[in-house]
Amino acid sequence: MRHTFAVTAAGAALALTLAGCAGGGSSASSSDSGSLEISFLTGSGEGTGSNYTMQKLVDDYGNGVTLEMEQLDASMDQRIQLLASQDQLPTFFQIGTPSQIEDLYEAGKIADLEPVLEELGVLDNLSPFSIEVIKGLYGGHLLGLPLEVAVEGFWYNKAIFEEQGIEAPQTWDDLEAAAAKLQEAGVQPFATSGKAGWPVTRLVSGYIQRSVGPDALKAVADGDAKFTDAEYVEGAEKIADFASKGWFGEAPEALDYGPAQDLFLQGTAAIYYTGSWAVSDFNNAELNQIGAENIGWFPIPEVAGGEGGIEQTPANVGLPMAVNAKTLTPEVKDFLKYLVENYGTVAMEDLDLITGFTTDATSDSPLVAETAERIAGLEEFIPWFESLQSPEGTAASQSGAASLVSGGLTGQQFMEQVQAAQ
């Protein structure tokens, strides 16, 4: 009696374990009934960005297509690498790191979308600007779709500027003068997150690209220049200087991205460098306590005697959407066609989101309309500090950035650390 009970218990336990093992993993599949299941890795939170838009598109497309969506977080690089190693990449997925995108393409795991979109006849639905940005970042191939397009610059609190009698800076010297004036008046000049790292390195690369020229970062990637060259170190030293003067407030190395934005939107800090993806937060009355109409924009000012011009704007396509080459069946291609034709409209109409897809829809929000106009009028885009670096370089840059603004590293030491990781 006890013997049979023990055997049954062991058998049940074994069965449960096996059932648990079989349940894992996700992949695109056409089930036996003929309906298509699209799997998607989204970088957006619920109800926002691609998370919302993809679901809406699938719902509107109908034809029995279902969507299995998973949300990525900060460890997206690792997740994608894991899925790629198991050959279980989803049909579509958002991806951030350029070097990882190129690795996946070389391993034949994602598709070059230019021939695919041309075959489907929808290549014209992508704005030429976003195609240029994507190809420029990913080795000359269209390896992702521009689910978002953003330009970066300095957003400022118009009321504070008026109060202090400051005008939007035209040159870098004007910017420094404005910051000094604000600091004297007791207003924190900049809201910069040292903890997140990249808000600091954006300022460094912004200065370098105005001083050395728009190809400054490409020169390093090609091996024609080094981050430790004097003109590059100057950029890091400038930003370290800003921090030591207290222009980033107290302990910027401990300030995270969200709290930094809050400092700006609550009227504590006057100037906030970020990309136009923040406009949706600017339009959110709960977050924005200074009012959307109170927010102005100026581009990275020119550096006296520098090679860069004010019309060169840092731009990116957020987290582009890659397409799994192995699951690109005719049914998936049909859905892809629908997606390319309609994504831009849905995103703009429902979310006020600017994408790289052409659309006739416009936004009621002045900030969004202003940004869309700015993007449409862009002549030349410049990349961000880590864009052409390896993951090691990115890690060294972002962890070093916090120490750059805390005083732990000098500009020279920071650049040495970044160069050593290249």
Partner: protein, 293 residues
């Protein structure tokens, strides 16, 4: 009975399932990982043979030595403090609190049950500076000592990390050592007291030798956990101001999965394994002097 247990084939049959499971789960990955140390690449880009190149690269990397130094320093300091705190608490339970120690024991034990990430977040908020001052900074400001970014200085971040881990685990080691202490026969303690041994002499000459086996197990437990620390550090400082509080485990994780270099990552793992091996052998050698181990 003896015929069955004495038969070699029977023995093999009995241990086969467990041995198979152990081989698959423990030994195969170890061999696999060792083979990775001679390769370069990752599952996306494929692997290629590089011989001892990974070892050369890793041993020449200053970041590796910084991480090793941190791991060793942390392991020694954390173990010493955790076991000392545990020992102190257990002596308190047995000699001072006696019967009423149950409540205190439970309360002090409680933090080990909490998830490490939750405890780390607690400490991050405790020592926060911007955008809101945390309790610690408020306290130092009230005392006129000013405020500072505790987790932004490498040495201070190390101290906070140690404090967090000791606070978290001292209750656990206290309970372990308490179990060893209550096993000491009362008459031995009585006899020692009659002979004139009090407090410190009692502890040093009677109590410690009696609980030596338990003490050694506790030290092994603690050092093993401390050398392989990952979640505490990752959740508290993420590797610290510019990599200053990065242990070997975090370095290995980053190299393999963030940088996509499985070869180098496996090599770092191999060095961590050898370090653990050296430490364990050292402890067992030291403990073997006492025949009861």
């Amino acid at each position: 009975m003896e015929r069955v247990l004495g038969d070699r084939r029977a023995i093999l049959l009995f241990i086969a399932p467990a041995l198979l499971l152990y081989t698959v789960v423990m030994l195969v990955p170890i061999v696999w990982s060792t083979s990775y140390t001679f390769l370069d690449g990752n599952p996306i880009t494929g692997f290629e043979w590089v011989g001892l190149n990974n070892y050369a690269t890793v041993l020449a990397d200053p970041g590796f030595w910084q991480a090793t130094g941190f791991s060793v320093r942390y392991a020694i300091i954390a173990t010493v403090l955790q076991v000392a705190a545990g020992l102190g608490l257990s002596l308190l339970y047995v000699f001072v609190l006696k019967r009423s120690s149950a409540l205190v024991r439970t309360l002090v034990f409680f933090p080990i049950v909490l998830p490490t990430a939750a405890v780390a977040q607690l400490f991050v908020q405790l020592f926060a500076l911007v955008p809101q001052e945390g309790p610690v900074n408020s306290l130092t400001a009230a005392l006129g000592l000013g405020t500072m970014n505790w987790l932004g200085q490498p040495d201070i971040a190390f101290i906070v990390l140690i404090i967090m881990d000791v606070w978290r685990s001292m209750g656990f080691y206290a309970v372990l050592l308490y179990a060893g202490l209550v096993a000491i026969p009362d008459d031995v303690l009585e006899a020692a007291r009659l002979d004139g041994a009090h407090r410190w002499k009692l502890v040093r000459f009677i109590v410690l030798p009696s609980i030596l086996p338990v003490l050694v197990s506790t030290v092994i437990f603690s050092i093993n956990g401390a050398i392989k620390v990952f979640d505490s550090v990752f959740a508290l400082t993420g590797g610290g101001p510019n990599g200053a509080t990065t242990p070997l485990t975090l370095l290995m994780f980053r190299t393999s999965f963030a940088f996509g270099q499985y070869g180098e990552g496996s090599t770092i793992a191999m060095t961590l394994t050898l370090l653990s091996l050296v430490v364990t052998i050292a402890i067992f050698r030291g403990a073997r002097k006492d025949m009861t181990v």
